[in-house]
């Protein structure tokens, strides 16, 4: 498989996968259980979900390790099994996609608030990411994805941890922004120019945003990243902001709507488009078609 960064540099746009949680709940994940606990008990479910996204057209498929840092796993007393939990997730996605898609090692926030605002030592956070990422790398992931970050210090440490383990591995870093009257900021107060500068300095190869917004706000976020960075930009949008309908909570943006709007992401020059909360294999399928139309005839 050609290297991810080479393909992006050539101007090719790639499609990443969509939401994981909903599919896991449909397959027996119980409320209150660690989503990563499944990696030990039912790895076949991970393989099935990865295959759904791969078959839908995802070229980058994430591991079920969003909460796979030992600091986060400790909330379920699973931190002792950090290595196995991360390795099994990477192996499951590899079994599903072979060498036909990139396996992306997902690394979400530790859930801790760093000193001086909270009680967690920054060094503990760095060590936690290193331990998780080492396990993912040893299990053969093709890239590491630091995602859904709101604290720039934590995001930076995660990227630095990745970089300290491997000079070559592509590292994605995404943060979650809220629209405010003064522009986009994370809840911890980081704006896009600062995120773009600092994450690049920490060693990220691909920058962008996931979660928190529907695709229309994400277009504005993408434009701002492009304005402040020359690195490839990744956007993983929610399927809108959930609304309540007939006793069900639904995400309002359907596959066709997202795919239509995704054209604007392509015009903005986004390099990787995928989904976050509320998106399904159908969304990814529609996104892949929109991207294929823009990329021209695609091999396979």
């Amino acid at each position: 498989m050609e290297s991810l960064l080479t393909r992006l540099r050539s101007g090719e746009v790639l499609v990443a996968d969509g939401a994981m949680g909903t599919l896991l709940f449909e397959r027996g994940l119980e409320r209150g259980d660690s989503p990563e606990g499944l990696n030990l008990t039912r790895p076949e479910v991970l393989e099935e979900v990865a295959r759904l996204y791969f078959d839908a057209g995802a070229q980058i498929v994430q591991t079920n390790t969003f909460g796979g840092s030992p600091l986060k796993l400790a909330m379920y007393n699973l931190d002792g099994q950090t290595e196995e939990i991360n390795a099994r997730a990477a192996q499951a996605v590899r079994r599903a996609v072979g060498e036909k898609a990139y396996v992306s090692g997902s690394c979400g926030p530790t859930g801790r608030i760093l000193k001086p605002y909270g009680d967690t030592e920054p060094e503990d956070v760095r060590a936690a990411f290193e331990r998780q990422m080492k396990a993912l790398l040893e299990a053969g992931v093709d890239l590491l994805c630091v995602e859904t970050m709101t604290d720039l210090a934590e995001a930076r440490m995660a990227v630095e941890a990745a970089r300290s383990l491997s000079k070559e591995i592509p590292v994605v870093a995404t943060m979650t922004f809220d629209p405010t009257p003064r522009g986009f900021f994370t809840v911890m107060g980081t704006d896009i120019p600062t995120a773009a500068r600092e994450l690049a300095a920490a060693g990220a190869d691909i920058l962008g945003s996931n979660c928190g917004n529907g695709i229309e706000q994400m277009i504005r976020i993408a434009l701002e990243f492009k304005e402040h960075s020359t690195l490839p930009v990744i956007i993983q949008s929610n399927a809108g902001i959930p609304v309540h309908e007939d006793g069900e909570t639904v995400y309002p943006e359907g596959p066709e709507f997202m795919a239509e709007k995704a054209r604007e992401l392509l015009v903005a020059g986004v390099a990787i488009i995928g989904g976050c909360c509320g998106t399904t294999p159908d969304h990814i399928c529609a996104l892949r078609k929109a991207v294929a139309a823009a990329n021209g005839p695609a091999p396979g």
Partner: protein, 210 residues
Amino acid sequence: MEIVKRIASELELGEEEKVAELTRAAIQEGLPAREILDDGLIAGMNVVGAKFRAHEIFLPEVLLAAKAMYAGLDELKPLLLKEKVPPRGKVVIGTVQGDLHDIGKNLVGIMLRGAGFEIIDLGKDVSPERFVEAAQESGATVIGMSALLTTTMPVMKEVVAMLKREGLANRIRTVVGGAPVSAEYAREIGADAYAYDGANAVEQVQALLG
């Protein structure tokens, strides 16, 4: 500047030690506990809440202000007890079972404490039974529940149903909030109120206890 106003302005800046020091000084001066609380600590936290809501400041500033507020409250606690200043009310809060997101809930706790309520924070991943038991044991009159995942929202419904079943719904009121939660959802499950952010949670609780 009047000492209670200085307490408020140092609190806004998140100056933990200065707030503690000024609170001690205000007590030394013989000011009533209620005045130090209302015009100093609560007034300061109100400004912080309003600025956060307007996106003028972000979570780090709120967390530092909250630390300063707690430092002041610790100094003031003996005097509040001595002068028998009652809390505005007791509120049990928690993030519902299965939900490990708790920054939103923590903010609600900070804002409610900052508004003079006594908070019993059950943390995250709280079962319906624990919410109800904790409210009964502590004599709290409000249960505040937060969820950030659509899959955990039904726990809120279970708490409301449990309170009705056990005949407690008129004594213990419920407020729900969190990203996927809406006013319509609150109405549908029979919760007493919906709060869209931490500052609004204070308004909703005040209205319920009005």
